[in-house]
């Protein structure tokens, strides 16, 4: 849950969900450490990261909870997304199966997750255009219908990786309306949103 401290600093728990091999851990590693491993190990344990982003109106400290994508751990996911202020649901643009799994995650979060959770859909491995199986328009339409922020990313080339975290940071509710003029609370207006070339218009 996002919680505000002094000087409008926000602690926000962010959870990554998605199919095994979609690139959840790679996205985080790229974002937090600027690294990319071609053969990232499956996530089975310690995968907690924190990263602070300075925005004009707030400092957002993300506490990032990575999760294991294997289906056998699916039933444990609620323990991880409980209380999360944000979620990135990751799929692999070269795998329709991973996109279907992403939709399932979205449904699950809509049903059981924190209702104020900021959700982003990340079509990862955007560098593999020649192997693409999931059309950008399809994902974008789905995201719009479900009120998600959508962007295609590549942990490998770093494209849009920082952007997705910044955009989530912008959309997090600012804690105390009294300290903020109403106009600033609504920082997630379409006009202020990150313009992404990958999204349908």
């Amino acid at each position: 849950m996002a919680s505000a401290g002094k000087n409008n600093s926000i602690n926000a728990k962010l959870v990554l969900l998605g199919d095994m091999g979609a690139g959840k851990s790679s996205l985080v590693l790229r974002f937090v450490k600027g690294q990319f491993l071609e053969f990232q190990e499956s996530t089975i344990g310690a995968a907690f990261f924190s990263q602070t982003l300075a925005l004009s109106d707030a400092t957002v400290k993300f506490e990032i909870w990575d999760t294991a994508g294997q289906e056998r751990y699916h039933s444990l996911a609620p323990m991880y997304y409980r209380g999360a202020a944000a979620a990135i649901i990751v799929y692999d643009i070269t795998s329709t199966e991973s996109f279907e799994r992403a939709k399932k995650w979205v449904q699950e979060l809509q049903k059981q997750g924190n209702p104020n959770m900021v959700m982003a859909l990340a079509g990862n491995k955007a560098d593999l255009e020649e192997k693409r199986k999931v059309a950008t328009e399809e994902a974008c339409t789905y995201a719009e219908e479900n009120g998600l922020f959508f962007i295609e990313t590549s942990a490998k080339t770093a494209i849009n990786v920082n952007d997705i975290f910044y955009e989530i940071a912008r959309r997090l509710p600012r804690a105390q309306p009294a300290q903020n003029p109403a106009g600033m609370v609504l920082s997630d207006r379409p006009a202020e949103r990150l313009q992404t070339s990958s999204c349908c218009s």
Partner: protein, 419 residues
């Protein structure tokens, strides 16, 4: 019996603990001391209530922290100092309430036993490969770990660790272990990418192996067909970890074992039912063990096996006693489960003796001024007057020292669960 938690305060967070005691020593803290004592007494005298207990403690800690913040004792203090005070308070309160809240209801105790058993069974046949765990993570020590009272430990942290401090990275790692527990509870064929029948078969094998039953073809009296026996041995060795060897053994039972076994007891030949005695199983088990290539694995969870008397500390005595009680319980349960009666644990008299000596040792310790009680123990390095101030005349003290057989905290575990 209380565990020796004597160096807890000084070994884990000396500054925090010292700071807390220091402030509580001030005259202006008298009201705090009164509130804390009163809460502990009231809480201790109530029957356990899983629904309300955790909330009551969390609420009390939160209220006290707020009160600290507003009090002149902490005027001008940094957030860190206030945090320290909160930690100190939590440690104090929870040390006092430990026996009252830890594994204090039958459900928790049962869950501990069940989880322990399930892990012991799974450890016999689940391999890292079943969970697609890469070789880099094939750490046998953690893979084969089976910490006793795991469930109660996790519940204790979940319920009583101050919620405002179980956040961020600590919360993440705690969630990992909680989810591991949940995963183990729910492990079924599917979770291991196994066929349902195969999974059931392996669970049954593991259960029988755990009880020593899978090796019952080799009663010394009836062991006549050496060839067959050797064959069984081979099957045992090669199939132990990969497949169920039980059918082969059953077959052998039928072929070379009568329904009754003749045993020579005290010069008399007595016919007893085919069900084996505990000592038969024990003999069989030990001869099997000796043939095992990975013998050491079975002993890794018994830290005292290779210890000498001189290596033991006073804390170890508590721990050992605890282990002994568990062992007895397990032994009796196993015997009962097998329908074997009238068998006493070998060397029981000796163990009774050592138990007496243990008690005597504690008496001696008291004479020497070494207080073996956990509650007092944590203060003895600080200041006796503080101890008197905080808990002197607290008549609920003695009520909480009557822990049952299984829920006695050991010194080791205490360190793990104490925040």
């Amino acid at each position: 019996m209380e565990s020796g938690c004597g160096d807890l305060g000084s070994s884990t967070a000396p500054l925090t603990w010292h700071d807390f005691l220091e402030r509580m020593r001030q005259p202006s803290a008298a009201d705090f001391v009164k509130s804390i004592k009163s809460f502990i007494v009231t809480f201790s005298n109530k029957a356990p209530d899983l629904e309300k207990d955790s909330d009551a403690v969390q609420e009390f800690l939160a209220d006290m922290e707020d009160a600290f913040r507003a009090h002149k004792l902490w005027a001008g203090s940094s957030e860190e100092e206030l945090e320290s005070a909160g930690e100190g308070l939590e440690k104090y309160v929870m040390t006092k309430l430990f026996n009252r809240v830890f594994a204090s209801v039958p459900e928790d105790v049962n869950s501990d036993e069940q989880l322990f058993e399930k892990m012991a069974l799974l450890q016999q046949f689940v391999r890292p490969e079943n969970l697609e765990i890469k070789p880099a993570f094939h750490n046998e020590t953690s893979w084969l770990a089976n910490p006793p009272q795991l469930h109660s430990n996790l519940l204790y942290i979940q319920r009583y660790r101050r919620k405002s401090r179980l956040v961020s990275e600590a919360a993440y790692f705690f969630t990992n272990i909680l989810s591991a527990e949940t995963f183990i509870w729910n492990i079924d064929a599917q979770a291991l990418s196994m066929d349902e029948i195969e999974f059931q078969k392996k669970m049954n094998c593991a259960r029988e192996h755990l009880l020593g039953l899978s090796t019952n073809s080799e009663n010394p009296v009836s062991q006549t067909k050496l060839d067959g026996t050797q064959k069984t041995e081979e099957i045992l060795k090669t199939n132990r970890l990969s497949d169920c060897y039980l059918p082969a053994i059953r077959q052998q039972n039928n072929s070379n074992q009568a329904n009754e076994v003749s045993m020579n007891l005290g010069g008399q030949n007595i016919l007893i039912p085919r069900k084996q005695s505990v000592s038969d199983l024990e003999n069989k088990g030990s001869s099997d063990l000796l043939k095992d290539d990975h013998l050491i694995r079975y002993f890794q969870q018994y830290p005292f096996l290779y210890a000498r008397a001189g290596d033991l500390s006073v804390e170890d005595v508590e721990n050992l006693l605890n282990c002994y009680k568990k062992l007895v319980l397990k032994y009796i349960s196993l015997s009962k489960g097998m329908g074997v009666i009238n068998e006493s644990l070998p060397g029981q008299n000796m163990q009774m003796l050592s138990k007496t000596e243990t008690l005597k040792e504690f008496d001696d310790a008291k004479v020497l001024g070494i207080n073996s009680e956990k509650d007092e123990g944590i203060y003895r390095e600080d200041d006796v007057s503080i101890e008197n101030l905080l808990s002197g005349g607290d008549d609920s003290e003695t009520k909480r020292t009557s822990g049952g057989l299984v829920d006695n905290p050991s010194a080791e575990r205490e360190k793990e669960v104490c925040p």
